[in-house]
């Protein structure tokens, strides 16, 4: 049985950032990263971007580490191996090839997996999910000959896929189960601003709709909607959410909810086991809530923090994270916790005639998050307001005033 001082499950940005920090702080401790993918660290966030898909930027831009980096830093990359079970008592992780790896300290950063589209014909050729570089390579191949594509689901990936497919000259139909884009996370005004941009860009949107079946031979030829309508398509991109694959972690006795539960130091309930990235449901010390986020900067910074904490430089994880995108002439940014859950108040900022609109989400008179349409330039101010726990109790009319400069709230 091989043994490592630091074992990291997950070779994405969380796991690799942790390994990098660990090596900086512990020059001699052995480190291994287990990944079920064949590739070294690449820029997963770039995968859904049109410029990458349409090969407008060199493919090699995707690599974030040289293949020599692992060896130079004495980090063993155990690729194409899946962790399948964990024994906390004997401190061992079992892989799908039957081998066992011992650890002193373990980081769980397995990421998320696309939720499977459970419909008849849903496994035909031409139906794609986007998670890995391999998935992206397959989509890049398909885009070259596809004429009519379906995108399933509303969200960041679907938005970026619609953009890429339209730029590639493909007819695009977007199927939304909801009555508007990103319901219920966004309100109808925001959703409709995004839909207007999509439609102007040539995307046909079916709302309150679901595909019942994909027909064709080996490959997809058409989609039959639940209304019975049949529409031709030779390619489908499914983006209906991510689910972490954590049953094996739960079975071991690590506490999980929707994700792997971790405290503000990213420690799980198990001795010498940490969690980071999309699969971690951590105690957010700014929001004072358990949150699970699926964005690049969160995974990157959690990986770094976990790396420090695993090497004894212990601090709590503190970050207001965000994700932004741009396409069809509209920019979208989410900051902090954007869930419109019970007890939260939402301040509307706009919209104005140019289609810029923000929603600022309050909990107990403090800002916890915001959604910004065409207002990315306010992201920095809002992050600061959240981070500094600035009380906005008596400032709600200013928050809703598009002419009020939010920086004034930051500077007091």
């Amino acid at each position: 049985m091989s043994e490592y001082k630091y074992l990291i499950v997950g070779g994405g940005i969380a796991g690799t950032s942790a390994a990098e920090v660990i090596r900086q702080n512990d020059k001699s401790g052995t480190i291994a990263i287990v990944t079920d993918e064949p590739d070294r660290l690449y820029s997963r966030i770039l995968l859904s971007k049109p410029n990458f898909f349409l090969e407008r930027i060199p493919f090699d831009q995707i690599w974030l580490k040289d293949s020599s980096w692992y060896e130079q830093n004495s980090i063993s990359l155990l690729a194409q191996k899946k962790a399948v079970s964990l024994d906390l008592a004997s401190k061992k992780v079992l892989l799908d090839d039957g081998s066992a790896i011992g650890y002193e300290k373990l980081l769980l950063a397995p990421g998320g997996y696309p939720r499977k589209w459970e419909i008849s014909g849903g496994d035909k050729k031409g139906i794609f999910y986007l998670r890995t570089l391999t998935d992206a390579r397959n989509i890049i191949g398909a885009v070259k000959s596809a004429k009519k594509a379906f995108c399933i689901g509303g969200g960041f990936v679907s938005f970026e896929m619609c953009d890429m497919l339209r730029l590639a000259g493909i007819e695009v139909t977007l199927i939304l189960r909801e009555s508007y884009y990103w319901e219920p996370l966004l309100d109808r005004i925001s959703g409709e601003l995004i839909e207007k941009a999509l439609e102007k860009g040539g995307v046909k949107i079916f709302r309150n709709s679901e595909v019942a079946e994909i027909k064709g031979g080996e490959g997809a030829k058409s989609a039959i909607l639940k209304t019975g309508e049949e529409l031709a398509c030779d390619m489908v991109v499914v983006g209906i959410g991510l689910t972490p694959s954590i049953n094996w972690i739960k079975s071991a006795g690590v506490a999980v909810n929707r994700g792997i539960l971790a405290n503000e130091y990213l420690e799980t309930n198990a001795q010498d086991v940490w969690a980071a990235g999309d699969a971690a449901e951590f105690k957010d010390s700014i929001l004072e809530e358990d949150v699970q986020l699926g964005n690049w900067v969160n995974a990157q910074m959690q990986g770094r923090r976990a790396g420090f904490n695993m090497t004894g430089q212990i601090e709590s994880f503190k970050l207001v994270s965000f994700y932004t995108t741009i396409g069809f002439g509209v920019s979208i940014a989410f900051v902090g916790d954007v869930r419109p859950i019970d007890g939260r108040k939402i301040i509307q900022r706009g919209p104005d005639e140019k289609g810029s609109y923000a929603r600022i989400i309050l909990k107990d008179s403090e800002v916890v998050g915001a959604t910004l349409i065409n207002r990315t330039q306010e992201l920095a101010s809002i992050s600061k307001i959240i981070e500094k726990n600035i009380k906005v109790e008596s400032r709600e009319s200013e928050l809703s005033d598009l002419n009020f400069d939010l920086k004034k709230l930051v500077n007091g």
């Binding site: 940005i13 971007k49 974030l64 932004t324 992050s383």
Partner: protein
């Protein structure tokens, strides 16, 4: 010693890792692209001399971390001899 900073707008996707690593230097503009906050109050993607940054005193380690954390390798740093330090 870092002397010059540039954000390549064609590569930038607005992931904002740089903003998190060095908020006194980087910000996103209305096009979701990274810009540098300059001493004269203006903001652009550079090239800018380090001495022209609003936070001209930022340490090289923080600038380097910001550039290295970019998921599209869009931040270019140069030293006093013009040599590219990152990426």
């Amino acid at each position: 010693m870092i002397k010059k900073v540039v954000v390549r707008r064609d590569l930038c996707i607005g992931a904002a890792s740089c903003v998190i690593a060095a908020a006194s230097v980087f910000e996103l503009d209305a096009e979701n692209k990274g810009v540098l906050k300059l001493k004269d109050g203006s903001k652009n993607s550079g090239p800018a001399g380090k001495e022209d940054l609003e936070d001209a005193g930022i340490d090289d380690g923080t600038l380097l971390l910001a550039a290295q954390s970019c998921p599209t390798k869009a931040i270019f740093l140069y030293d006093e001899t013009g040599e590219q330090v990152c990426p």
